[in-house]
C-alpha cells in the first residue's frame, strides 16, 4: 500500500506565502488539517488533487510511494476526493454513479456484480436504480464513498466531509468512513473545522495558523 508524501510543499497567493508543509501520511493514516478559514486548507487539497486555481502558485512534490503525481493530470493521480456535499451526479441513478468511477476491469456482468456487492455491504442493494435525490443524507454519503472506493484510489482527500450531515447521523457515518479508509489502507488527508472529526480520525492533527505556516513532521500534534 502507498504512502502519501508531501515534500516541501509551499503555496503562494500572489506575493503572500500561504503555507509550507513537509510531511508523510502513512497507509491507513488519517491526517487532519485544521485552522481558520483562509489559511489554505482546501487549497492544499486542491493542489494534491490537481485542481489548484491559477490564483495560487505551488512548489514542491506530491508523491504516492515513489511516484510523483503533482505533474500528472487530475484523472491520472488516483486520489479519491470527498466534498462536504456528496455530489452524486443527479442525471445518473445510484448504480450509474458507482459505475462512473469504477475501473473498467472484467465483463459488464462482473462490474454489475461488484456494484451490487458494494451496495449490499452498506445495506443499499435495493437502491441501485434509485434517483440519488430520493436518498437520505446518510445514504448519499455512503454511496459517495463507495463510488470513490470503486475507482480504486491510492490516497484519499476529505474536504469537510461530515459538515452537512445531521448530528444524529454524523458520528455513525464518520466511524464508517474512517473504518473503510483504514480497511483499504489509504493514506488520507482530512480538512475540517470540527474538533470531534479530528478526534474521531485518531491520527495526527496539523493546525494551520493565519500567519505563514511552516510545518514538518516534528511540528505535529500527536493524538492517541
Amino acid at each position: 500500500m502507498a504512502s502519501l508524501r508531501l515534500d516541501d510543499i509551499v503555496i503562494h497567493q500572489g506575493q503572500h506565502r500561504l503555507l509550507s508543509l513537509d510531511t508523510t501520511v502513512a497507509p491507513g493514516e488519517v491526517l487532519t488539517v485544521m485552522g481558520p478559514s483562509g489559511v489554505g486548507k482546501s487549497t492544499l487539497l486542491a493542489f494534491i488533487a490537481g485542481f489548484l486555481s491559477p490564483a495560487f502558485e505551488a512548489q514542491g512534490c506530491v508523491l504516492l510511494d515513489a511516484t510523483r503525481i503533482d505533474t500528472l493530470p487530475a484523472e491520472q493521480r488516483h486520489v479519491g476526493l470527498l466534498f462536504q456535499d456528496p455530489l452524486l451526479f443527479p442525471h445518473l441513478d445510484v448504480a450509474g454513479n458507482l459505475a462512473f468511477g469504477m475501473v473498467r476491469e472484467g465483463t459488464r456482468r462482473q462490474r454489475r456484480a461488484r456494484i451490487h456487492d458494494a451496495l449490499s455491504s452498506v445495506g443499499l442493494e435495493a437502491f441501485a436504480g434509485r434517483d440519488p435525490a430520493t436518498l437520505s443524507g446518510g445514504q448519499k454519503a455512503r454511496v459517495a464513498l463507495l463510488r470513490v472506493l470503486l475507482s480504486k484510489p491510492r490516497a484519499m482527500l476529505l474536504d469537510e466531509p461530515f459538515s452537512k450531515l445531521d448530528a444524529e447521523r454524523r458520528g455513525e457515518i464518520r466511524h464508517w468512513v474512517f473504518e473503510r479508509v483504514r480497511d483499504h489502507r489509504l493514506p488520507t488527508l482530512m480538512v475540517t473545522h470540527d474538533e470531534a472529526d479530528a478526534q474521531a480520525a485518531g491520527g495526527r492533527i496539523l493546525r494551520l495558523t493565519e500567519r505563514d505556516t511552516v510545518m514538518g513532521p516534528t511540528d505535529k500534534e500527536e493524538r492517541a
Binding site: 486555481s53 491520472q76 488516483h78 476526493l81 455530489l87 451526479f89 475507482s151
Partner: protein, 570 residues
C-alpha cells in the same frame, strides 16, 4: 494523439474560430462596403477613388429626413424601452408579477421582429382589431377611419414596434446582470435603510446594473437605428428610414447604383455610431446629475405612481404583443371579414389549404438554415465556454466586445460589403453563405443565453468526476453536458428563433436563391393580402415555438426520473 491532447487542441481552437466567425465577416464586410463608397469596385468598372457616390447620395431628395428618422426612432425607442424596464424592475423585482413575466421572456424574445411588426400593423391599423373592437359603439365609425398606421410620417408606429420587441430583450439581459451585480443584497440593504422599492432600486441597484446592461443597450440602439424588416412593415415610406432606402438602392437593377448604396451603407454606420455617441454623452450627463441625487437621503421619488405607470406600460406592451399574435391567427383563418365585425365568422381553413403548396419550400429552407446555423453556433459557444472554464479566468473585455460586434455594427453596412466581396471574388450566393450569415447573428444570442448557466455550474462536479478517473472529454460528455441540458436546449431554441427571424442576411447573401418564411412574410406585408401575410407571419412564430417546446419537453422526458434535474425544481 492522446484524448487529453485532442481535447486541449479542440478547446484551444474553438474560441478562436468563434472570434473569427464574429469578427471577420463584420470587419471584411465594412471594408467591402467602404471601397465602393469611394468609387472602388473593379468588377463594376470602378477603378479610381472618388467622392462621386457621396455627392450622388447627398443629392437624393429627403436624405436628411431619412437620416433623422433613423436616428430619432432608434434613440427614442431605446430610451422608452430602457425606461420601462428600469421602472418595472424597480417596482416589481422579486414579486409574483415579475416571476410570471420572467417565465414568458424567452418565448416572447423568440417572436421574430417581422411577425410582431405584422401583428401590430394588423392590430392598430384603421381597419385593425382595436378599432373594430371600439366600433361602432364607442367611435361611431361604420368605415375604417383615416389615419396613417403603419407608416406614419413621425415613425411612431415604428417606435412602438421596436419597443415591443426591445423590452423582452432588455428584461432577459437584466436577469443575468441582476445576479451579477448582487441586486437582491443591494436592495435588501437599501430597503432596510427605509428606501421605498423603486427609490431603493434606482439609488442602490442601478449604479451596479447599468454598466452590465450597457452593451445589450448599445446593441438595441444599433438595431433600432438600422432595422430593415421592422421599418419596411411599420416605418414611413416617403421617405423611409435610411437602412430601408439603402437596401432599395442595392436591389436596384441599375448596377451603378451600388456605389451610392455603398456610400449609404457607410452613412448608416456613421449614423449608428452617432446615435451611440449621443447615448454615451447622455449617460455621462445622467451619471453626473444623479450623483448628488443618490446621496441626498430622500427615501422616495413618486414611487407609487411611477410603479402604477410601469405596471400599466408593461401590461400594455405585453398585451399588445399577445393581441397582435392573436390577430395574426384570426386573419389566417378569415374569410370575408367586413368592417367593423370584431371576429371573422365562420373561420375557414381555405387560406391555409390554398397556401399549403407554396409553404413547403420556405419552411424547409427556413428549417435547414436555422438548424445548421444553430448547430454551428452551439458547437462554437460550447468550445468557447469550455475553454473559459478550463482557463478559470473570466472573459476579457475585448472578447466581450467582439461578441457584441455583429449586434453593434449595423447589419446593412457589413452584409452589404460582404455581398460586394462575394461578387468580387466570384463566390456564388446561396445556402452556405446564408447559413454563415445567420450564424454571425445567432452565435451572440446563444452565447448570452448559455454563458450564465455554464459559468455557474459548480466546478466540483467536474473535479469529482476527474478525481474518479474521468478524462476531460468524458467529463464534458458525461457530466457537464447532461447537467446543462436544459439551458443548452433553451439557448439552442433562442438561436433557432433568431435564425428564423433573419431577413437581411437571407435576402442579401442568398441573392433571392434562398426563400424563407421571413423573407416571404416581409415581402407580402407590403402587399394587400392580409390572410396570406398572416399565414407566413404565423409560421415565423410557430417554428420558434416548436423549438422552445422541444427545449422544454426533452429535459422533462430525459430526466423524468431525476427529481433534481426536472426543469422548475430549483
Amino acid at each position: 494523439m492522446t484524448a487529453g491532447v485532442a481535447y486541449r487542441l479542440v478547446v484551444g481552437v474553438l474560441p478562436w474560430l468563434t472570434i473569427a466567425l464574429l469578427s471577420v465577416p463584420v470587419v471584411a464586410g465594412v471594408l467591402g462596403a467602404l471601397a465602393p463608397a469611394f468609387g472602388w469596385l473593379p468588377v463594376l468598372g470602378g477603378e479610381r477613388l472618388t467622392l462621386a457616390p457621396w455627392r450622388q447620395l447627398f443629392a437624393v431628395p429627403g436624405i436628411v429626413d431619412m437620416a433623422r428618422l433613423s436616428l430619432v426612432t432608434g434613440l427614442v425607442s431605446a430610451a422608452l424601452s430602457l425606461g420601462l424596464v428600469v421602472l418595472f424592475l424597480g417596482s416589481f423585482l422579486h414579486t409574483p408579477l415579475y416571476r410570471r413575466i420572467q417565465r414568458w421572456l424567452s418565448p416572447l424574445l423568440a417572436v421574430p421582429h417581422a411577425a410582431a411588426a405584422i401583428g401590430l400593423a394588423f392590430l392598430l391599423a384603421p381597419s385593425g382589431w382595436v378599432v373594430r373592437g371600439l366600433s361602432p359603439w364607442a367611435t361611431g365609425w361604420a368605415y375604417p377611419p383615416d389615419y396613417a398606421f403603419p407608416g406614419d410620417a413621425w415613425g411612431l408606429s415604428l417606435i412602438l414596434g421596436l419597443v415591443v420587441k426591445e423590452v423582452p430583450f432588455l428584461l432577459l439581459m437584466s436577469l443575468a446582470a441582476l445576479v451579477q451585480c448582487q441586486a437582491r443584497e443591494r436592495l435588501s440593504v437599501a430597503r432596510s435603510l427605509g428606501y421605498r422599492p423603486l427609490t431603493a432600486f434606482l439609488k442602490g441597484v442601478m449604479p451596479g446594473l447599468y454598466p452590465l446592461l450597457r452593451l445589450p443597450l448599445y446593441a438595441v440602439i444599433a438595431f433600432a437605428t438600422s432595422t430593415v424588416d421592422v421599418a419596411m412593415i411599420l416605418g414611413p415610406t416617403t421617405p423611409p428610414p435610411l437602412a430601408v432606402a439603402v437596401v432599395g438602392w442595392l436591389n436596384d437593377p441599375t448596377l451603378s447604383m451600388r456605389f451610392m448604396a455603398s456610400a449609404g451603407a457607410m452613412l448608416q454606420l456613421l449614423l449608428t455610431l452617432t446615435a451611440l455617441l449621443i447615448w454615451w454623452t447622455l449617460e455621462r450627463l445622467v451619471a453626473r446629475v444623479s450623483r448628488g441625487w443618490c446621496r441626498d437621503g430622500r427615501r422616495q421619488c413618486g414611487d407609487r405612481w411611477l410603479a402604477g405607470m410601469a405596471w400599466l406600460a408593461m401590461r400594455t406592451v405585453l398585451g399588445l404583443m399577445m393581441a397582435a399574435l392573436a390577430g395574426l391567427a384570426l386573419w389566417s383563418v378569415a374569410g370575408y371579414w367586413p368592417f367593423p365585425a370584431f371576429l371573422p365568422w365562420p373561420p375557414i381553413a381555405h387560406n391555409w389549404l390554398n397556401a399549403a403548396d407554396d409553404l413547403v419550400a420556405p419552411v424547409w429552407q427556413s428549417l435547414g438554415v436555422a438548424l445548421a446555423a444553430t448547430l454551428v453556433s452551439v458547437v462554437l459557444v460550447l468550445g468557447a465556454l469550455e475553454s473559459e472554464t478550463q482557463r478559470r479566468r473570466p472573459m476579457r473585455p475585448w472578447a466581450q466586445l467582439i461578441l457584441y460586434l455583429p449586434l453593434l455594427v449595423p447589419s446593412v453596412a457589413f452584409l452589404f460589403g460582404l455581398v460586394m466581396m462575394q461578387a468580387q471574388m466570384g463566390v456564388r450566393p446561396g445556402l452556405g453563405a446564408v447559413i454563415i450569415g445567420h450564424a454571425v447573428f445567432v452565435l451572440p444570442y446563444v452565447f448570452l443565453s448559455l454563458a450564465e448557466s455554464y459559468r455557474r455550474l459548480d466546478p466540483r462536479w467536474s473535479q469529482q468526476a476527474r478525481s474518479l478517473g474521468a478524462g476531460p472529454w468524458r467529463v464534458f460528455w458525461r457530466v457537464r453536458l447532461p447537467l446543462l441540458l436544459t439551458p443548452l436546449l433553451t439557448a439552442a431554441a433562442v438561436g433557432f428563433a433568431v435564425s428564423i427571424g433573419q431577413y437581411l442576411p437571407t435576402i442579401l447573401l442568398g441573392a433571392g436563391r434562398v426563400v424563407t418564411v421571413t423573407t416571404e412574410a416581409v415581402s407580402l406585408a407590403s402587399g394587400g393580402d392580409r390572410r396570406l401575410t398572416a399565414i407566413y407571419a404565423l409560421l415565423q412564430l410557430l417554428l420558434p415555438a416548436l423549438g422552445f417546446m422541444l427545449a422544454m419537453l426533452v429535459p422533462r422526458y430525459v430526466f423524468r426520473r431525476r427529481r433534481d434535474l426536472l426543469p422548475g425544481t430549483d
